[in-house]
């Protein structure tokens, strides 16, 4: 499947500009384990209601498109854990038979980031929110291709991000637990620099780099390498510049 990667933006603590990401990609190192963006572009009222994940994902989203595009493009929001950290607090309320905060509950749905983005950007276009375990980035890319299959005329804004799991569940998961976000406009093949995705069967597990798969993709995209191989529980995922 071929598509085009147009404008992009990414955020991790201390790595916020395109130049900083290019420098990181040349000499990739483990990323800071804590931090969150100030998200000053959001109105103060809205910003106060944002969880750290929402601030993180919206920072990349707003960096990857002009205001008119932010209000118009279809969106895909991907996160492995979503708002699970906030859900843990609500689960403790449930277990203790305490009343839940309606505002907290509203902001723990998996599409909370998409919903708040839609409100902040005034965007009424189609939107999807998803999770694909360790490989949520490939899932997000496929979901963008689904939107392009329905209508290839406009690119899709793909936004992925996570924040480290709180200590209740963190020991259950082996992953590069860092706060980050990455957003990219994915367009139909031929509308910009090309990316081809191919899914194969995974023969045996391979070691993953110590940063999230979406940032490994970005590192590769900024490198001179022609192709990249990543894995999930079933597939060998091959990316190729075309």
């Amino acid at each position: 499947m071929k598509a085009a990667l147009l404008r992009w933006s990414a955020w991790a603590p201390g790595i916020e500009s395109l130049a900083a990401w290019e420098a990181w990609a040349k000499a990739p190192a483990a990323l800071p384990a804590a931090g969150q963006p100030d998200a000053k572009f959001l109105p103060a009222m809205l910003r106060r209601r944002c969880t750290p994940l929402t601030r993180t994902m919206l920072t990349a989203a707003f960096g990857a498109a002009e205001p008119a595009e932010l209000a118009r493009l279809r969106t895909v929001f991907a996160s492995r854990h979503g708002s699970i950290n906030e859900s843990i607090g609500l689960l403790e309320n449930v277990v203790r038979r305490e009343k839940l905060s309606p505002a907290t509950f509203s902001h723990t749905v998996h599409n909370a980031q998409a919903g708040l983005f839609s409100i902040a950007a005034g965007n009424r276009a189609a939107s999807s929110s998803l999770a694909g375990q360790e490989d949520s980035w490939t899932a997000a890319w496929l979901e963008a291709l689904c939107f392009l299959e329905r209508d290839p005329r406009e690119p899709v804004l793909v936004v992925i991000g996570d924040v480290p799991l709180a200590e209740t569940f963190a020991p259950l998961v082996t992953e590069a637990a860092v706060p980050y976000s990455f957003a990219a406009q994915v367009g139909a093949a031929g509308t910009g620099p090309g990316v081809e995705l191919e899914l194969g069967l995974l023969d045996s597990p391979r070691p993953a780099p110590p940063w999230p798969p979406a940032l490994e993709f970005l590192r590769w995209w900024l490198s001179a390498d022609e192709s990249l191989e990543q894995t999930n529980r079933a597939n060998l995922v091959r990316w190729r510049k075309c």
């Binding site: 499947m1 969106t75 492995r80 979503g82 699970i84 859900s87 609500l90 689960l91 403790e92 309320n93 449930v94 277990v95 203790r96 038979r97 009343k99 839940l100 905060s101 309606p102 509950f105 509203s106 902001h107 723990t108 749905v109 998996h110 599409n111 909370a112 998409a114 919903g115 839609s118 409100i119 950007a121 005034g122 965007n123 009424r124 276009a125 189609a126 999807s128 929110s129 998803l130 999770a131 694909g132 375990q133 949520s136 899932a139 496929l142 979901e143 291709l145 689904c146 939107f147 299959e149 329905r150 209740t168 569940f169 259950l172 899914l199 194969g200 069967l201 529980r233 079933a234 597939n235």
Partner: protein, 401 residues
């Protein structure tokens, strides 16, 4: 029509109406709301009506024990009736060509309550608790491993539109040639988080949900799973149209004018290449909240007029949240599959009959009502999600071979 075929080739489902197709169909057209139960356990100091699945559910196989949770058991119950067709598809196309795209809003969070309770008492999580059972992506991976599929497997979670959106993506994955078949639909389970969350929002009705009534005061929650085998074959029951939009309005309330709902319905008609008068039945989102019914009736009147038979099936099974779009598509599938003599038996709108005069006068289907069609039947289903995510589907079936 320019779109490639998208066949909803097989369907399995479980909800408060049951697991057995014949029984579910009889209860659906009879408008049997007796399956809902009054629950006094889930929300402190109040009883709420719920659409709980009371049948016993299949056990998670030992090899997949890390996925063990009620949500995945519901998915397994929906998978059982179509296991033969799904197995045949995996054998025919090869595991890498079969994908899984499912919706949920809960995943295994209900079972995580027990883990958190255990941690409160002992300081550690129960040893058998695995993150695969809790994370949203676990649902699609569980079904993929259960059926031996090794194509793309991911879970969509756009609140109440998740199940409808999953079917939309399954159709595109097949149309693009990424997959030859996709198991798609949704599973959502009753749990303390959603019952207490919606109670905190003041959204749960005192009695059974009563959509379109002047007495309506909220929704009744439920649980369900519906799984379809989606292929690119022509014939049978087809997924013909998808329309979707965002609200850009409020996290937990729709735009009062129903603009997002209107965009979704018009988009689905355009996608299917159909005129409004060709739709024979509409399954409403119909949650029974004051806001939903007001905006949805206005949008339906603008797009489809006031003569089309409409009903909400939520008074029969509850609002099954992430599964609503899939179970309601399943009810539409049954309506088409049971068509006879140029007419559809449509599920009645079950309520107290005290119409809210402030709502647009759309036609709410009565018990025993039949909708006629000529040569091909088309039905529409609406799903409007929390967080402002809307998705409308159109299913169709032709009598000519």
């Amino acid at each position: 029509m320019s779109r490639k075929p998208c066949r909803l080739a097989a369907l399995g489902h479980v909800s408060a109406l049951g697991r057995v197709r014949g029984e579910v169909w009889e209860r659906l057209v009879a408008g049997d709301s007796s399956r809902l139960t009054l629950d006094s356990e889930r929300v402190p100091e109040r009883s709420i009506w719920v659409g709980e699945v009371r049948e016993s559910l299949p056990e998670i196989p030992a090899a997949l024990a890390r996925f063990a949770c009620r949500n995945n058991q519901l998915a397994l119950a929906a998978l059982e009736p179509i296991a033969a067709e799904v197995t045949a598809a995996v054998a025919r196309f090869g595991p890498a060509r079969v994908g899984v795209v499912l919706g949920t809003s809960t995943s295994g969070v209900g079972d995580a309550e027990a883990a958190v309770a255990h941690r409160e008492k002992t300081g550690v999580l129960a040893r058998e608790f695995h993150y695969d059972q809790l994370e949203f992506g676990g649902l699609a991976r569980f079904v993929a491993e259960a059926i031996g599929a090794r194509g793309p497997a991911y879970t969509l979670s756009t609140a109440c539109s998740s199940g409808a959106r999953a079917l939309a993506s399954a159709r595109s994955l097949v149309a693009m040639g990424v997959c030859d078949a996709v198991v798609s639909g949704a599973a959502d389970s009753l749990c303390g988080l959603t019952t207490n969350g919606f109670a905190a929002l003041g959204a749960i009705s005192a009695g059974v949900t009563n959509p379109w009534s002047v007495n309506r005061d909220g929704l009744t929650l439920g649980e369900a799973s519906a799984l379809f085998l989606v292929t690119g074959e022509p014939g049978g029951i087809q997924l013909l149209g998808v329309g979707d939009s965002s609200e850009a309005h409020h996290m937990s309330a729709p735009d009062p004018e129903g603009r997002g709902a209107e965009t979704a319905m018009r988009g689905a008609l355009e996608d299917a290449g159909l005129a409004p008068e060709q739709i024979a039945y509409l399954n409403l989102h119909g949650t029974g909240t004051p806001q939903n019914d007001a905006m949805e009736s206005a949008a339906v009147e603008r797009v489809l007029g006031t003569e089309l038979p409409c009903s909400s099936t939520k008074p029969l099974v509850g609002h099954t949240l992430g599964a609503a779009g899939a179970i309601e598509a399943a009810f539409c599938w049954l309506v088409l599959a049971e068509r006879a003599g140029g007419a559809l038996s449509v599920p009645p709108h079950v309520w107290d009959g005290a119409r809210d005069p402030a709502l647009a006068m759309i036609h709410l289907a009565a018990k025993g009502e039949r909708a006629t069609y000529s040569s091909a039947a088309y039905v529409m289903t609406n799903s409007f999600g929390f967080g402002g995510n809307n998705c409308t589907l159109i299913l169709g079936a032709s009598d000519s071979p």
